[in-house]
Each structure stands twice: as C-alpha cells, then as structure tokens.
Symmetry: C2
Amino acid sequence: MGGDGGSDLALEALPIALSADPALHCLCVGTSPTLGRIQSLPSSLRQRIETLPSESVLASDVSAAQAIRHGQTSSLAIAMKALAEDHADALVSAGSTVGLMALSRQLLGMLPGIERPALMASLPTLEAPVWVLDLGANVQVDARRLLEFAQLGSVAVEIVTGHAPRIGLLNIGSEPGKGPDMLREAARLIDAEPTLDYAGFVEGDQVFSGKVDLVVCDGFAGNILLKSAEGAVRLTLGTLRAALQGSFATRLLKGRLRQAHDSLDPARHNGAPMLGVRGTVIKSHGSASQQGLAQAIDLAARQARGGLVKQLETRLWSAE
Amino acid sequence: MGGDGGSDLALEALPIALSADPALHCLCVGTSPTLGRIQSLPSSLRQRIETLPSESVLASDVSAAQAIRHGQTSSLAIAMKALAEDHADALVSAGSTVGLMALSRQLLGMLPGIERPALMASLPTLEAPVWVLDLGANVQVDARRLLEFAQLGSVAVEIVTGHAPRIGLLNIGSEPGKGPDMLREAARLIDAEPTLDYAGFVEGDQVFSGKVDLVVCDGFAGNILLKSAEGAVRLTLGTLRAALQGSFATRLLKGRLRQAHDSLDPARHNGAPMLGVRGTVIKSHGSASQQGLAQAIDLAARQARGGLVKQLETRLWSAE
C-alpha cells in the first residue's frame, strides 16, 4: 500500500515478479478494495497469490511511536505479524522506513546482541554493484556497532553473490592511520574477525570503483555518500542532456543513451535489506518503478531461500 | 614546486594567469634551477614576475610536525614568510595540504577565536557553483565550530560572487527535527546570526541542485560528500563513454561531449581557500591542470583584492 506509486504500482509489480520466478508465492496485504483488484490478473498467476485484508494503512510520515501505538491494524503490521508467525518467509514494503523499523523491532524482535536494525542498499559501480550499510537511523555509533554492521552485511551479501564480500570501512583516507580513533578501532575489530574479509579503509570515490563489495559506515556518512552520489549522477546526466539536445546525431544514439541511463538508475538497484531483525525484511524505495519493486521482491525471495536469519543467528552466536 | 605536475605545471600556469589578468604580479618561490626556467617566458610577462629561491621542497607526504621542524627552508615556508611580511598579498600552493595547514598556522597565525584552518572548495551544480566547507582536518567539531565555518565561508563567498550566500547545513534530512543534536544546535546558532543568510538543512543530493550557495559541514562529512560526488561523476561518464563508443554519431557529438565533460571537470572548480589563518591562502588540487592552477591563482588575486582577511577580522571581532 505504501510508496509514491501506492497499490497501483504494487499491482503492476506483482505479475512481473511472479512471472520471473515460477516458485514464488505472494501474500498480499492491503485494504479490501485493493485486494479485489487482484482478480483482474491472469488466473495462472492468481494461483500463487494469497491475500490478507487490513483495516488501515500507515501514513508515509508516521513516527515510530505512532506506528506502534496506532498502527497495529495497518497493512504493514498485519504483514509483519504474518512474517513473525511464519505465514510468510520475507516481507517487502515501499512504505515509511520509520514505520518499517519500528514495527519490525516490535513484532519480529532483534537478533542476539543487536540493538537497532541497519539498512543496507546497493549502488552501481563500473563492475559489480557495491553494498553499503548503514543507511538507516544509526547516526552515532561506536566501533563494535560497525563490526556488527560488517557481520550482518557480510552474510546478506554472500547470499546474493555466492561469495564472502571484501569489506571496506568508509573513511576520509585509505592509509591505516587516517580518520577518527573510532574508525581505527573498528578496523582492528573487523580485521581480527576470521569470518570477515577486511580490505581496509575506502574513500568516497573508491566506493564506485569496485574495489570492495561491501562498505561499512554509520548511518550519517552512509546517507551523505548515497545522496551525494544521487545528486552527482543527476547533475552529470542533466549536463550531458543539455549538451546533446537538438542534434540529429543524438537521436541516433537514443537507444544507447537510454541503456547507459538505465544501468545507473536507482530502480535497478532497488531493495534495501533491513538487517538485525528476526526476519527477512526488504525496504523498497518509495519512488521505485514497477520493475524496481519486482526486483525488491526477488531480493526478498533470494534472502529467504538463502536462510538469511538462520545464518545471521549462527554467525552472531559464534561471535559472542 | 608541489602537486602531481610539480614546477613544470606551475611554469605553464604562470603565463595563463598573467595574460588573463594584466594587474597581476607573481612572486615565484622555488629551487634555483626551476626559477631559472622563468627566463624562457616572454619578457612582457617577465616584467610582472619576481622570484625568491628556496633551498628545499616539502615532501608530498610530510607530517605537520616534520613540516614545522624540518620545513623552514622549503619553498612553502619561504613563500609563507613573504606573505606574513606583506611581500605578497596571497599564497597559492599545489603541495601537501598537511604542510600548508601546519606552516600557515605557525607563520601567519590564526584569526581571533579560530582554532584550526578550514578548507573550502566549490562544486558544480546545474546553476552557479556551490561552495562547501570544511573539507580539511576538522573531523570532529561542535556547533560553535560550524557557526565559525559559516562566518568564514560567508565572507569568502561574498567576495567571489558579490552577494551574501544562502547557507545550508549538511544533514541527512531537510526537516528541522532531523539529524544529531549538535547539528540542530548549529542550525540555531547560524540562524540567530544577523549577518548570515541561513536557508536550513540540505541533504547530499540537494547540494548539487543549486538550492544554496554555501554548504557547511564537518571535515569528515565534507570529504565523503566531495569524494562520493567525484566517484559518481566518473562512474556516470565512464558508463556513457562505454555505451557511446564505436558509433559514427558519437564522433559527430565529440565537441558537445567534451564541453559537457569540461563543465563537470574538477579543474574548472579548482582553488580551495584555507580560511581562518591571518592571510589569503589557496590550496590548488594536486592533480589540477595548468588551467586549473591558473584559476586558483585568479581566485587568490580576487580574495586578496576583496580584502578577505580584513573583512574576516571585522566580522569575527563584531561576533565576539
């Protein structure tokens, strides 16, 4: 029900995701009028769709306290309870991140030793995508928290790529002596952990070079990194668009330009795992396209099939 | 003598800067063999060049302590002393930022109430360039320090643009309640200062939209912002280059593509004022082109002519 495109977009993403993955079953949670519109989908797909009605929907600007106090009959809370009670294996939402974080903490609970969920997203590079966490609400963190992020992210990325990611710690220089004391302490902790493949500090520009597969940082630095890159990509494309406008040759290159544009599109990289909660939860970007939302659903299925939560529990247990 | 291009690049930048600005005089400080090569420049330009020999050059990886203990005969120290003794009005260096910061603190001293220099640089936007500070070594700061940055940057930007800049505070949300307590406190301080035009919090992507003229942040966030944007621009241009390669139409657009590329080139935005020291000091990027270095020299001349240091002293005095 959430996100800029609301239930219309979800109803378009649903057949894309089901057609792409014949083993996928979807449990759709929303208000009754929306769920009724699922009847218009082909019956071959409808066989793999179940529905669960909700009385209300969370507002996009809901606070954590409001979500918990007044959101228990919302589509998100109903879906979260279905996940908690094993009626679903994973949850995807394009709604409020604050609401998603609050209800997942309350209804799923946290993994051992983890205080708050961390949000991980992928960014394009010239090579394979790079994953970055935290992009959530963990603004001021200590070194142990960054070690936690590395452990959570490493397991989640390995499920997607099939190999343990090279981990970089975001800093303002790549030499070991650079940056605040806390980051140097975090580097020692991550480097000392035998299950983690630590590759050293990475600077903001190196994130996009494909040097590492997973970048660990606090939520403030992660947000600055992500938003700055979004702004710079938009500026670059806008500058090129203005420069190429009105030329016949540009029209000849339309297909190639579209292809390049698409490969940088955030929707291609949609689907942010919320890690640390006792369940597979994927945040879809509020402005993602139907293809983007379908990709978030696919990521959720892959994380659930890879046994994300069980693997995280084992890893965190052995680290204690 | 410093920077990737060393004295060769400086000798190419020198005639560009002198030709562009007939009122400009340059005092070149370096080793004798380098200064000797100035003889090969046209005599019309040589009339506006003075030289000052130095025995040594600072290493590019010099520490602050080394610069102060062993760097007193270096070209940078000799140039800094010329600035301190009013034999020059401004200083430009492409050498070590650490050395520049250490020697400027030692030989020029700081403005009243300022502890450490702040480094300010400009970035391209779809409209006028935006200035960002701090990009230097001020990694952990308090709210009063951010107010200082706003005051230093506001004066320096007004000299360049002719009007008081709209100031944004870099944060992970643009609503007033967002981010760490320290940033909310800094927002109150900057907003309460009648000489400053405070426009609110800005997110990483908004920096590139032209919403504000000056972005204030700590050196850690500033470095992440700048480097992330560099990496994202490089990724976008690289992706487009790969997509357009090998097509005849691309060859027709070569001039337009070059123009777009140039407008995003960091060399176009070269020249970072080091603010808070008792002198006009401009850091040129180590990898800047000769045009970039000439632009840093031009910026230095404009800041000196605008009376940067006197204006900062007046402003900081009245704020106490």
